[in-house]
Amino acid sequence: MVRLEPRLVPSRAVGYLAPIIAIALAFAAGMALFAALGRPPLEAMQLIFLEPLRSLRGISEILVKATPLILIAIGLGVGFRAGVWNIGAEGQFTVGALMGGSLALAVYPVTGWWLLPLMALLGIAGGMLWAAIPAFLRTRCNTNEILVSLLLSYVAVLLLSTLTHGPLRDPDGLNFPESRLFQTALPVIIPGTRAHVGFLVALAAVALAWLLLEHQLLGFKLKVLGQAPRAARFAGFAEPRLVWFSLLLSGGCAGLAGLLEAAGPVGQLVPALPAGYGFAAIVVAFLGRLEPLGILVAGLLLALISIGGEMAQIAMSLPSASIATFQGMFLFFMLAADVFVNYRPRWQPRRDSAPLARSAAAAAE
């Protein structure tokens, strides 16, 4: 029988290996999935993992997809380290896009160099506002932030849908539930593609988060709160402030990501804007082991898979849900592989002794 034995020191080697093992397992499971769907598995995998890298268009689309994933996951990762479970990034993303986008629609058709920065600020504010609700309720009313932040996502998505069906609908349009196109767009970084400055913003966020977590006392406090809440209390770290910080940071990142998505590749407000980025970012955060650099790599990888998945969808008429299934499996394998960072599997012949007898023997020694 295999038993798990705690390691004295977490294994660094396994720490680096775990994501690779998870990817390999997800790869194998993905092949099985596609085979079960009656598609040639190797060909599907090749389409998903290699095809997007073969063209400039593919690579630039990966950057577009990776931007919100990385930005949101960076914020979430900081909170997850502190044991603050903001799983409502989808809602904060939506409200950020809504608030930032509303500004453009409000001043339409006026435009200027100031418009995009102001929209970005409002996007951050919108995400923070939506995250402030679970922060307030957890610190003041002791309410579980997991449930509140998630339930608020549903509210936010419905709110976006209501507003794009009503007040924000394009007055010159054909009654489709969508706003008019923004009068301004994010600057493109690779000419001829959709890759926009948002990706640079995401890179900056990675760098800032790395500085915060590795070189600031605040980063250390967050880590202690997550790993040893009692120690954090004894050390006098103010828990409510750390909770507020984690939620506002992750909310602000998600809000900014939402605005960048609306003002970048989409160019308007549509009900389908959120598209699951807030949830996929949770996978990214874990796959990146909650480390900024890891999140950067994981975000690019997940973006590659979704772009490749889209290509496979078209080429092999694969159902769109197969990529969501794949992401879920990815997270499963990552969590499973992660266990071996702190535990070592040990083969042990089965013994019949009851736990009672064993602890008695231990006490006698």
């Binding site: 969501a324 794949f326 992401q327 879920g328």
Partner: protein, 306 residues
């Protein structure tokens, strides 16, 4: 009077999937396992039930399939969170994502089909009683099943030795281990029971409430069920009160237009989520009471060595 009785019936129908899923999750949480994958287990159960009904035409098979699907999903979670000691919050989220994805994938062929009306109980004489007859004696069998399962769970958790052991494990797994109870085995059992109940809750959605299959048709009900467990302070009978209150809010929202209240329908569909949050806040406000009612080892991994 007919309108009132119709409204009450729709309240019961809206509440039943929540009663089922929350009862199962309550048992798991009482044993110290926080499974955030309820949404994923429910949606898989919904699809499994619908597919089995389409294939066999038998309700018994549909329910069996839902239970098997829910239990299977819960097994994935249990292996990850109990045997491998992964973080329970993350493992639950993974289960929800996986369940939503897998059911959408496997259910493609079924979208748009209808299961047809679910048979209702008819007791000669009783069901034809004026006023209460239809309400009490002419519902679909699953509503009675949900109430029976809730009653059985309540009795089991609060009146039997098994319940006592489960609660002991949820409150102090080290002590329970020390007196010889196999903590992991009990937790596996509780988690799988939670999965089976969530599967049944999903089956109710796709067989009775909206007799069809649609991607993501649970629309957050798994999360609301999780909130109901907190609302119920981990006591089975309060789950019933919470679920019916919740059902009432949903249905009143839907019917408010009939009463002449003019609010946008989409705004009204936010109501259930907002009410759930409000109720959570009211219940959790007293920090001391929460500490006393919540299972002390909720969400903590157990390893025998410590």
């Amino acid at each position: 009077m007919d309108l009132l009785s119709n409204i009450l019936i729709s309240v019961m129908i809206a509440a039943t999937p929540l009663v089922l899923a929350a009862t199962g999750e309550l048992v798991a949480e009482r044993a110290g396992v926080l499974n955030l994958g309820v949404e994923g287990m429910m949606v898989t159960g919904a699809l499994a039930a619908f597919a089995a009904l389409m294939a066999t035409g038998k309700i018994a098979w549909a329910l069996t399939a839902a239970v098997v699907a829910g239990t299977g999903m819960a097994t994935l979670f249990a292996v990850l969170a109990l045997s491998l000691r992964a973080n329970q919050v993350a493992a639950g989220l993974a289960l929800t994502m996986f369940g939503l994805g897998l059911s959408a994938l496997a259910g493609q062929g079924y979208s748009g089909q209808s299961a047809g009306a679910f048979p209702r109980l008819h007791l000669a004489g009783l069901s034809d009683l004026p006023l209460l007859g239809k309400l009490l004696f002419a519902q679909d069998g699953l509503i009675y099943l949900s109430l029976a399962l809730l009653a059985a769970t309540s009795w089991l958790m609060e009146r039997t030795r098994l319940g006592l052991i489960l609660r002991a494990i949820g409150d102090n797994h080290d002590a329970a281990h020390a007196i010889g109870h196999p903590v992991l085995a009990y937790r596996y059992g509780a988690t799988l029971f939670g999965g089976a109940m969530a599967g049944l809750g999903g089956a109710y959605l796709s067989l009775v409430e909206t007799p069809l299959w649609a991607e993501r048709m649970t629309a957050g009900r798994g999360w609301i069920a999780l909130a109901l467990v907190v609302f119920a302070a981990w006591r089975p009978w309060r789950v019933l009160a919470g679920a019916y209150l919740f059902g009432a809010v949903t249905i009143l929202g839907l019917h408010s237009q009939a009463f002449g209240i003019k609010i946008d329908a989409q705004l009204l569909s936010m109501l259930p989520y907002l009410v759930t949050i409000a109720v959570l806040v009211i219940i959790s406000r007293d920090k001391m009471r929460m500490k006393l009612t919540a299972p002390a080892c909720l969400g903590k991994p157990f390893h025998a060595a410590a």
